[in-house]
Symmetry: C2
């Protein structure tokens, strides 16, 4: 029975995870430049004091993320992640050394402002059966949520319904990638956004437009919903980004 001892779960990270992260940082921060060869697996294993299997696992993950290129018999080479990596790398780029990279955050907000309204319009265009009830329930959950973090999660759940209604696998997967990027930072960001987002009415308008099947209205409602928080955060991050 723990009282107010403020105990945190012990972070017990897997060995290949640690190797992966070390190499990831090297690649992203430019310690290993594109075209450069990595040390051999045996060498890395010895250097890091882990088994070759662990190194292999890490390298293979880097390979799947398209950060390196592994060739049987040859040496493993670093790729240019800006030209090769997929959207799933975004999380690693957003959070660095435990803090948020403002330029990446800016980019995320920009993209959200483009994609959100488009998805809303598609959802309205298709407005599948039952969407009204789902949106209703999502909004009720939103209204009932006192905590900022819970509010963010409820907002994600709302958008989840919208994305699902849009019936577009690409936007669905994009949304998944974005959520995977966003969720780990939710504690930090929800604090910044807490004052901005209590605009239940805007969610209502968006839901109405989707149910009505009015694509243009849905697009506009989504823009209206996203613009305030986007601008607020954008200017906050622009401030941080100054020493560029």
């Amino acid at each position: 029975m723990v009282g107010r001892m403020a105990l945190r779960p012990v972070a017990r990270r897997a060995v290949p995870d640690q190797v992966f992260e070390q190499l990831l940082v090297e690649v992203i921060d430019g310690g290993l430049r594109p075209g450069e060869s990595l040390p051999s697996e045996r060498e890395l294993a010895e250097t890091l004091g882990v088994s070759r299997a662990a190194v292999r696992e890490a390298l293979q993950r880097l390979s799947q993320t398209r950060l390196v290129e592994v060739r049987h018999g040859g040496s493993t080479k670093v790729r240019d992640f800006r030209r090769a990596a997929g959207l799933d790398l975004l999380g690693s780029l957003l959070v660095r050394d435990g803090s948020i990279d403002p330029s990446v955050a800016r980019s995320i907000l920009e993209a959200r402002l483009v994609v959100g309204p488009a998805v809303a319009a598609l959802a309205a265009q298709r407005h599948p059966d039952g969407i009204g009830g789902q949106l209703q329930r999502a909004i009720e959950a939103l209204a009932a949520e006192p905590e900022p973090v819970g509010w963010q999660l409820a907002a994600l759940a709302f958008w989840d319904v919208v994305v699902d209604a849009a019936d577009s696998i690409v936007f669905q997967l994009m949304f998944n990638s974005m959520r995977a990027t966003y969720e780990p930072t939710i504690e930090v960001l929800s604090a910044l956004m807490s004052g901005e987002l209590n605009q239940l009415a805007a969610y209502g308008s968006l839901a109405d437009a989707i149910v009505a099947g009015d694509a243009d209205a849905a697009r506009q409602a989504a823009e209206k919903l996203l613009t305030p928080s986007t601008n607020a955060l954008l200017s906050a991050f622009a401030e941080l980004e100054k020493p560029r």
Copy 2:
């Protein structure tokens, strides 16, 4: 020295790749349903006649793709890939049994029509130094290209310049994911699009708008550039998608 014998390189796929693909298909096609448990690694290894290391590598790749959830001590469970997987799964969804899934292709075209103009607008808004020359060279390469496949590659190179100019890491990574999805199918799709895309002038207008820094004009030029091929392919795929 091989003459015209039409010999193809022997496909010598790595063992973990084959295991990965088998499990991937099971998950995507629903042979393994979300929440369901996979057989243990030892069991899979025996069933498939490979070492446990190979199975582990495949499972770990599935895990990174968020298709399964691996828990130390517990069993590995299938996730709902539609709700969890990232944009990098798109390639596996687009091409199935060697043929293209029309509903996925439709979704890609929709997304392209949304994101392309937005990226063009951003590129115009920022219009970095030297962008004019880069666009010029990309267009020249396009003009000089006789083959459909090479034309598609040159078009990708053009967009590469645009995306780079937009200075948005999110759109850059999205573009990378899309390109990774598209490139393997380029032989098939370039044939479908060959008649549609010889609109060099549209590329010119887009480049002009970007160089001029006119975001709205760039957005419109991009729409004008993408709309014809989008509609052509969309209706072609809609035809295929009928028996839904």
